[in-house]
């Protein structure tokens, strides 16, 4: 393709691409995000390719390996267009049938449809799936409309028209003003107004300025950025170009974490294509605007999501944060003014430029505008990426979109905002999701991880897990963070092991607030949140541990396993699978756990078939005395 020399070149190319496309031509869209790759979508893609070749349909049917549509739980996902028929859990063996029945004869294959667990009804169309119905997908929708490796696809849905509009119809100040009026706030966690940030950097003195896309999505349980990077990298890059134009920057970086290999690959492909078309480099679209982007990979350090640590990492140093001020807008990478925004923030920019600030400001609440992508994970029926208007009650997201808690269990808490976010208790879930409301509850928006926990999750164990995580990831620069977290972990560990004392709870609270106040960067300032919020909302659970029982029956030191002699059928599964040889039994005889040998690995509980349900977890009391060896099993009635 030739370099584009003007906005009209871009439009010409777009028309040319569209003229070759027939919206009525059948197209099989296969999700190829990392989630679906983990469930085997690559085999499905190959099978479609082979089957179309075999049936000589290559020019009659298109295949598109699209980005993540979000419903990872049901992957591999295949959507047959133009009808929008939604198939889930597709395997290679289903492929021939999809082509002959659905694509050619327009017949729906019943068994591949999604069944609404609430109504028991089968759902045919993608847009009718309850998971999608209540979402507002201004960012995510494009993921399934394009192949992320094809810039033509992005151009076909209007790609880079916002860039052309900004370059030729708006002054940099006007772009900044538009972003300010839209009310867009940083999607990386803190929620700083994006337009104001740009304005500060725009006004900063310096001939060389940098813009950075923070794609170091390190929060465990958050993968919203991954979904965008893999599925629609051009939207992010277009946002960066517009931002760079507004700020007056000529160089940019995308800092992607190493754990997202597909994201790195897709962003690099996108950058190469942009360069080829003249959307990067000197004189973009024939204007006077010069800009280039470099991809920098992280190397597995959570702290590099913090902006000053990230910038140190870009300079090739270890990722240690530094004191602010000076803020990056004054002194960032190599001492130059730098503007850094999160992936999702950048992706919103072209939409705002194209649709106007007012359109964006109409979505959301008074102070939190637009949509936000959350990764809804943990103990939830419909796991995946969910994009909702800010202000939606958390409850709606969990029950209407997420489909509630699996196996009829009770919701206990939603952990929100990454490891240093907070745990929101079940009785507060009517709260609207926005920056302020979450903060009030002791949690935060963070990068949008929503980890749902049910009654089987131990909150003290959860606090321990996050403290361990943050201790490992603390860079060690501030004493309060380095040593304080170590002590928090020590105390929570003691409590989970039944060695806690009541006065420990006071110490946790005092130490936690000290670490918060005296640490330099965002990591230390928020690291005690998991301990503090669990202590605030789940104090009785801490107290129960200190008294010797783990109500969720998770903490190994406080539980024991027992086989109910009334229910054991001597099937032998537990004995066969026990890694510690702690279970004895014979055919027809009740199986017995040797408490001395048991390592509490949960295997017997897991393998005991649900219909027998003979293995019991006990906490807070000693395991009942085992029946004597050789006790015959109870004869069950035939019906059972």
């Amino acid at each position: 393709m030739n370099r584009l020399q003007s906005a009209s070149d871009l439009e010409k190319l777009r028309k040319q691409i569209l003229s070759k496309r027939d919206p009525k031509k059948p197209c099989i869209v296969i999700c190829s995000g990392t989630g679906c790759i983990a469930s085997g979508c690559e085999k499905v893609s190959v099978a479609f390719q082979e089957e179309l070749e075999k049936q000589k349909l290559m020019d009659k049917v298109d295949i598109r390996t699209g980005g993540c549509p979000g419903f990872c739980e049901r992957g591999p996902i295949v959507v047959v267009q133009p009808e929008g028929i939604f198939y889930q859990l597709v395997e290679a063996k289903d492929v021939a049938e999809i082509i002959t029945e659905t694509v050619l004869k327009k017949k729906v294959i019943d068994r591949l449809l999604f069944t609404d667990p609430q109504t028991g009804k089968k759902i045919v169309l993608e847009k009718e799936v309850p998971f999608y119905k209540k979402q507002k997908r201004i960012l995510m929708d494009s993921n399934s409309l394009i192949d992320p490796a094809k810039i033509e696809d992005y151009l076909a849905i209007g790609g880079y028209s916002a860039l052309a509009k900004a370059l030729f119809e708006m002054k940099p100040e006007e772009v900044i003003d538009s972003i300010k009026r839209s009310g867009l706030r940083g999607r990386g966690g803190a929620g700083f107004p994006t337009g104001t940030k740009w304005e500060i950097c725009h006004k900063a003195k310096g001939d060389l300025k940098y813009v950075i896309c923070n794609a170091d999505e390190g929060d465990p349980g958050a993968f919203a950025n991954r979904g965008l990077l893999e599925g629609n990298p051009h939207s992010i890059l277009e946002g960066m170009l517009i931002g760079a134009y507004a700020i007056g920057s000529s160089e940019g970086f995308v800092y992607v974490r190493h754990e997202y290999p597909l994201a790195v690959k897709n962003v690099k492909i996108a950058i190469d294509q942009m360069r080829e078309l003249g959307l990067l480099g000197k004189g973009i679209l024939g204007s006077k605007f010069n800009f280039d982007i470099k991809v920098v990979q992280g190397a597995g350090a959570f702290i590099c999501g913090e902006e000053t640590a990230l910038m140190a990492s870009i300079e090739g140093k270890k990722g240690e944060p530094r004191q602010r001020p000076p803020f990056p807008a004054d002194r960032g990478v190599w001492g130059k003014p730098t503007n850094i925004n999160n992936v999702e923030t950048w992706a919103n920019v072209p939409l705002i430029v194209n649709n106007g600030a007012e359109w964006f400001a109409n979505i959301g609440t008074a102070k939190s505008k637009g949509t936000k992508i959350f990764s809804l994970v943990g103990k939830i029926n419909n796991t995946g990426l969910v994009e909702v208007p800010l202000g939606m009650p958390l409850k709606e997201m969990i029950y209407d979109i997420g489909g509630g808690i699996p196996k009829g269990k009770k919701l206990k808490s939603v952990q929100c905002g990454g490891p240093s976010g907070g745990c929101i208790p079940a009785d507060s879930i009517s709260v609207p999701i926005d920056y302020e409301a979450l903060k009030e509850l002791g949690a935060m928006m963070g990068s949008g991880g929503m980890i749902v926990m049910d009654e089987d999750t131990c909150m003290v164990d959860t606090a321990k897990y996050f403290s361990k995580f943050l201790l490992d990831e603390s860079c060690g620069k501030c004493m309060t963070c380095r040593e304080g977290l170590e002590r928090l972990l020590e105390i929570t560990t003691d409590i989970t092991e039944g060695k806690g004392k009541m006065e420990d709870l006071q110490t946790l609270a005092e130490l936690g607030s000290l670490v918060k106040e005296a640490s330099m960067c965002g990591l230390g300032q928020t690291a005690p949140n998991p301990v503090l919020t669990t202590l605030r909302y789940f104090r009785p659970e801490y107290e129960a541990h200190i008294k010797g029982s783990c109500p969720a029956k998770v903490c190994k030191a406080l539980i024991s396993y027992h086989i109910d002699p009334e229910r054991c059928t001597a099937c032998g599964l537990c004995m066969k699978n026990c890694p510690a040889d702690a279970i004895t039994g014979k055919k027809g005889m009740v199986h017995i756990i040797d408490q001395g040998k048991c390592i509490k690995c949960d295997t017997c509980y897991d393998v005991c078939p649900e219909k027998f349900d003979a293995v019991r977890k006990i906490s807070g009391e000693p395991a009942p005395r085992a029946v004597p060896q050789g006790t015959p099993i109870k004869k069950r009635e035939a019906k059972q």
Binding site: T34, G35, I37, A38, S39, C72, E73, G75, E217, G218, D219, P220, G221, A222, F223, R226, H258, E259, Y260, P261, V296, Q297, G298, A299, G300, A301, F302, S313, I314, E315, G316, K317, K318, G319, V377, G378, K379, T383, G384, Q415, P419, G449, I451, M453, T457, Y465, F466, F469, D472, E473, S474, C475, G476, R482, N577, P579, C601, D602, T603, D606
Partner: protein, 173 residues
């Protein structure tokens, strides 16, 4: 801080490629450095490329990088030990990464890790005596819906159970 026992590792004589063929290593390192325009700020990418080629960061290669980029060895070393992906000891033929992100954690990744430790008889971050497997944990792979997830040699295996784990491992010899 990263609790990597790097001190003792780096003083070990470099094995295989390193000890036997320093010249070959130098050529490879040169090519990688050239690819990165001998740019100091690309140190992390350079080390990633070296690790991809040699499966770990040989001591000799670190020395070459420091010398050729004109940075102090200690600064190269500090970067190599700060970031979790770098290994200063040779790693196994197959690298197992167990995701221990929050979603995988609540869905049972600790049991997967325990099982692997027991089966392979290694601690996390270590390599089996026959150099076949290295067991590592990773913070979050971002495929939380498929948890617990492990990645072996870049291949994702989702919704793992202890019994599925056996099948997965048997594919890697």
């Amino acid at each position: 801080m990263k609790t990597k026992d790097a001190e003792s590792n780096v003083s070990r004589p470099s094995q295989e490629e390193g000890g036997a063929d320093i010249g070959g290593m130098e050529k490879t390192v040169d090519l990688i450095l050239k690819d990165h325009d001998y740019d100091r700020s690309s140190l992390i990418s350079i080390l990633l490329a070296i690790q991809e080629r040699f499966n770990y960061l040989p001591k000799e290669a670190l020395k070459m990088v420091a010398q050729k980029l004109k940075i102090r060895l200690i600064d190269t070393y500090s970067v190599a030990t700060f970031y979790q992906v770098f290994s200063l000891t040779p790693r196994g033929k197959h690298i197992i990464n167990v995701c221990d992100g929050t979603a995988c954690h609540v869905r049972g990744s600790p049991r997967i890790i325990d099982k692997l430790k027991e089966k392979l008889n290694v601690e996390t971050g270590c390599t089996t005596a026959d150099m076949k497997f290295t067991l590592e944990t990773v913070r979050c792979l971002g495929c939380c819906a498929m948890g617990p997830v492990i990645v072996v040699d870049g291949n994702y295996h989702g919704k793992l159970s202890l019994s599925k784990l056996e099948n997965v491992l048997s594919n890697y010899n």
